[in-house]
């Protein structure tokens, strides 16, 4: 234990020995001491993020398991704020000396000096450990997950289902990963919180070829917090959907480029909102003014039929968390209500730099990244129309049934690949189309989402941005966009 009145000169001599195989109360004293040391050096705010992860992925190709790869990692990051400037230093060394060294480096980078040898180190009163692990029984999760043997068996069965249900099959792949992550956050404002996250995802893909015709279709499912996830996975239904889509797209014509009304499918169709609007509501964009919405809070930015949420609370959804990576409990954040911008997605730095209140959205891939404002489960709320209403309103347009990935540029331009599309003629789906890319500008497209059906569904996704790759959910009901540029041939 540290002495009650600690002098700066004593800190290098301290020999804390916190528990090495889990984050618990034993970390209070060393972290409290270091936080106090950082504050005594003149930092406005200091935060430690400790992480231990146990990751494994498994790949099945055709009828063989070709890769099982576990990955173990431990590390920590220390973030120091001085005014609006901040510094982040990360290390693999979780000893007290290693953490102290990282803090010293961060302080020095910001031009702060360690307090003199006779300076008292003020105590930082950390809150009673907010332990989501203990309160929710997460300690048992890792042991309850599928074994390596089970992973292999399920993935081979999934590939078997693809072989059975596909035609002109050239190759089949199924993959699974389990990402177990234990985190501890301690900060000079008193935050002291401990959590375990369990994120799993499984997916299949099929490549079909017939002469010069080729089609490739993939799909993933994901879950946060259910150790039984892989055992519960309905790979037969999954394979059926993939095989059907791949078969239809094998002989599809290339889409003719132009401007069309489109209907976008529910679930992963929500990637359009994620890219075209969600990123532009993160305070990392607001603080740089790289979003057209940075000064539009309270104003109409979208069609009056559009309401959208970002939250971290949906049961087992891929972006669900108990607390964010800054130790704040997650919230349900209303982003847009009937077209009016209501809130931004904000983290600690976002609050410091923009004044928008934190929303439990400070997220990061791991300890090598400083947290940033990131989306969690983000979706357009269900509307009042039926799917038939949406199709029936279009004489000639495109139905985007299966979306690929997308991105948004610094001036608000976005694009999405479409893996499976169909021509709409007189309200009916006629022929399959391939090679489509949807292109537009966020400010314009948000005004053109004119109809939403009542079939909201969510889908897992991976979002890469300033703080690395994080697990998110995208979602929407079927929506109609009145006009959008479709890139093709």
């Amino acid at each position: 234990m540290a002495p009650t009145l600690l002098l700066s000169r004593d800190v290098p001599e301290l020999r804390y020995l916190p528990t090495v195989d889990r984050f618990d109360e034993s970390w209070r004293s060393p972290l409290s001491t270091l936080l106090g040391w950082g504050r005594a050096a003149g930092a406005d705010f200091v935060e430690f993020f400790l992480e231990r992860s146990n990751y494994i992925n498994c790949l099945a190709e055709d009828d063989a398991i070709t890769s099982i790869a576990p990955r173990l990692a431990t590390g920590a990051g220390v973030r120091v704020f001085r005014g609006q400037a901040d510094c982040y230093v990360s290390t693999n060394d979780l000893t007290f000396a290693g953490l102290r060294s990282a803090l010293e480096k961060a302080l020095a980078i910001l031009g702060l000096s360690l307090p003199g040898p006779n300076a008292y180190i003020p105590e930082v009163n950390l809150e009673p450990l907010r332990d989501y692990v203990a309160t929710k029984g997460k300690d048992a999760w890792l042991g309850q997950c599928s074994s390596m043997k089970e992973m292999g068996e399920v993935l081979l069965a999934a590939n078997g289902a693809l072989a059975k249900q596909g035609s002109h099959v050239q190759s089949r792949r199924s993959s699974y990963f389990r990402d177990w992550q234990e985190v501890l956050v301690a900060a000079s404002d008193g935050v002291f919180a401990h959590d375990i996250r369990l994120t799993q995802s499984v997916g299949s893909s099929l490549l079909c070829a017939d002469g010069a015709n080729r089609s490739s279709i993939g799909q993933r499912a994901g879950d946060a917090s259910n150790p039984q996830f892989l055992r519960d996975w309905d790979y037969e239904t999954f394979a059926s959907g993939i095989a059907e889509s791949a078969g239809k797209m094998l002989y599809a014509d290339y889409v003719e480029s132009g401007n069309y009304p489109v209907v976008m499918a529910n679930a992963f169709g929500g990637v359009i909102f994620h890219e075209a609007c969600g990123h532009l509501l993160e305070t990392t964009q607001v603080e740089r003014k790289t979003t057209p919405f940075w000064d539009k809070k309270g104003e109409k930015i979208a069609h009056e039929n559009l309401t959208a949420w970002d939250e971290g609370l949906s049961d087992n959804a891929f972006g669900t968390l108990d607390m964010d990576d800054e130790g704040m409990p997650v919230q349900r954040t209303l982003l847009i209500e009937n077209g009016i911008l209501k809130n931004f997605i904000s983290d600690r730095a976002g609050f410091v730099k923009t004044g928008h209140p934190r929303t439990g959205s400070g997220r990061r891939q791991g300890y090598t990244f400083a947290a940033a404002s990131r989306m969690r489960n983000t979706y357009i709320a269900p509307g009042q129309f039926s799917i038939e209403d949406l199709f029936g309103s279009i004489d000639r347009g495109i139905y985007c049934k299966r979306m690929g990935g997308g991105s948004v540029g610094p001036t608000g331009q976005f694009n999405f690949g479409v893996d499976e599309a169909y021509l709409i003629e007189n309200g009916q789906l006629t022929k399959p189309l391939k090679g489509a890319t949807l292109i537009g500008e966020a400010v314009e497209i948000m005004q053109k989402i004119s109809m939403s059906s009542n079939d909201l569904a969510l889908s897992p996704g991976f979002c890469g941005s300033v703080s690395g790759s994080v697990y998110v959910t995208v979602g929407q009901p079927h929506i109609k966009v009145d006009a959008i540029t479709v890139g093709g041939r």
Binding site: S67, I68, A73, G409
Partner: protein, 445 residues
């Protein structure tokens, strides 16, 4: 945390013996990195990281392979990794099991240590803040430099195995990027950027990065829509290299064996591109700042001709793919439970360079950069549909294109190349001249 490769090798051998592991190898790296970003002349974020990690592969008594990666590289962490890899080996593949590279112990001729002293962080901040200031002063329309960064890193890589292979290299790298944004009343925001990489901060071309960012950004102020249609297209070196990278499965032996490529084992010798195009993967090209001396299996890197006068001439190999296809390893392997193959440094050139000039062209689209490749490329089908930055060029006059995409099939594109310019540009990912293509679909207004 500095790594002693000799100590690591000793620990690995001792632990393997204790665990009854007879065959193993280990690949790892250690990175010490610092980066800064600025806004309005002040440091916005400064990051420093020291991280290490190793991947161990273990062969069990049945010859199956298991693998584990870890950031805990002390003795206890290494032991856990070896144990876990040993456990995983029970589920390793039984067909095409990887083995040590036959070249893992071949001597490497050259200086495998190329380190530079790091610049003080304040020097990085001052240089970047100065670049931001000069960009903002360059034109009233440039209102911000929302994305910028200056970074320097020292990286050590190492490989060792139970048959005595021991490789080590160390390298310093510095890099800078600037991305400026314009705002003008009644006009859409425009942007432009540039990137530079060098062996150290002192040798970094800061002025060049600043000038290119300024020129590119301002060149997009005068913009117009483009009618959708088919146009002759000129790819900048950066844009062409981006496309090549997106379709690198054409040359990837592992992808070919997995039927995840547009090529097959029989494609060698076939015509892949116009006869005026040649391509090599050349890790030791003088322009390659980040060159590695060996790959993830310890195989020395080298120059590999991939397209010779339009014909596909080689694939990129790991030790395993080379064995299966009767070739030599090429130094492009990444260690894993399943060894993967990836390209190194592209060198695009022509043995018959053309003499077409932008100043003489009646009307061409100059594609400066293609974006969103992860969304707009289907590498298994060969198709692409990508947003791009570029200009309509008529007899040397350039007008920026407001917003458009370019689409086509990579195989058709390669065969419809009509000119490879003689002057190449050296970039971090490759060396390449401008490439002229007869016609591609552009979607604009």
């Amino acid at each position: 945390m500095a790594i002693s490769i000799e100590q690591l090798a000793t620990d690995a051998r001792d632990l393997a013996t204790n665990l009854g592991i007879k065959q193993f190898d280990l690949y790892g790296s250690s990175v010490d990195e610092t980066s800064v970003k600025v806004r309005d002349g002040e440091p916005e974020q400064v990051k420093a990281s020291q991280r290490s990690g190793v991947t161990v592969r273990v062969w069990n008594q049945d010859g199956r392979v298991g693998i584990t990666s870890t950031t805990d590289i002390d003795r206890a962490g290494l032991e856990l990794a070896l144990r876990t890899a040993s456990e995983a080996s029970a589920f390793g593949a039984t067909d095409n099991v990887p083995d040590f590279s036959p070249e893992a112990t071949q001597p490497i001729e050259g200086n495998t240590s190329d380190m530079a002293p790091p610049a003080p962080i304040n020097t990085l901040i001052t240089a970047l803040a100065d670049a931001e200031k000069r960009l903002l002063e360059a034109h009233p329309a440039i209102t911000s430099v929302p994305y910028n960064g200056l970074a320097q890193s020292d990286t050590e890589r190492f490989y060792l195995n139970s048959e005595g292979a021991l490789r080590h290299e160390a390298r310093s790298i510095a890099s800078m990027y600037l991305y400026a944004k314009t705002e003008q009343e009644g006009r859409k925001p425009r942007s432009g950027g540039a990137f530079r990489m060098a062996r150290s901060f002192d040798s970094l071309d800061l002025e060049g990065c600043l000038q290119e960012t300024t020129d590119k950004t301002l060149s997009h102020l005068n913009y117009d829509k483009i009618q959708s249609g088919k146009y002759p297209v000129v790819f900048s070196p950066e844009a062409f290299l981006s496309l090549l990278g997106a379709f690198s499965n054409l040359f990837n032996a592992q992808s070919i064996l997995d039927k995840q490529s547009l090529s097959t084992p029989d494609s060698l010798g076939q015509t892949l591109a116009a006869s005026i195009l040649s391509l090599a993967d050349d890790e030791h090209h003088p322009g390659n700042i980040g060159a590695s001396w060996f790959d993830g299996e310890g195989t020395p890197t080298r120059r590999i001709p991939l397209i010779t006068d339009g014909q596909l001439s080689n694939f990129l190999h790991s030790a395993g793919t080379a064995k299966r296809l009767g070739a030599q390893p090429t130094g492009h392997a990444n260690m894993g439970a399943k060894v993967t193959v990836s390209p190194g440094y592209w060198h695009v050139f022509s043995n018959q360079p053309g003499d077409l000039r932008l100043a003489d062209a009646e009307q061409v689209i100059l594609v400066d950069d293609v974006t969103a490749l992860h969304a707009g490329v289907n590498s298994l089908e060969g198709s692409f549909s990508l947003p791009f930055d570029g200009w309509m060029v008529k007899r040397g006059d350039r007008v920026s294109i407001e917003s458009a995409t370019i689409a086509g099939d990579i195989r058709d594109l390669l065969k419809s190349i009509v000119c490879v310019e003689p002057e190449a540009e050296v970039l971090p990912g490759g060396t390449c001249p401008r490439i002229w293509v007869a016609e591609l679909s552009i979607t604009g207004d």
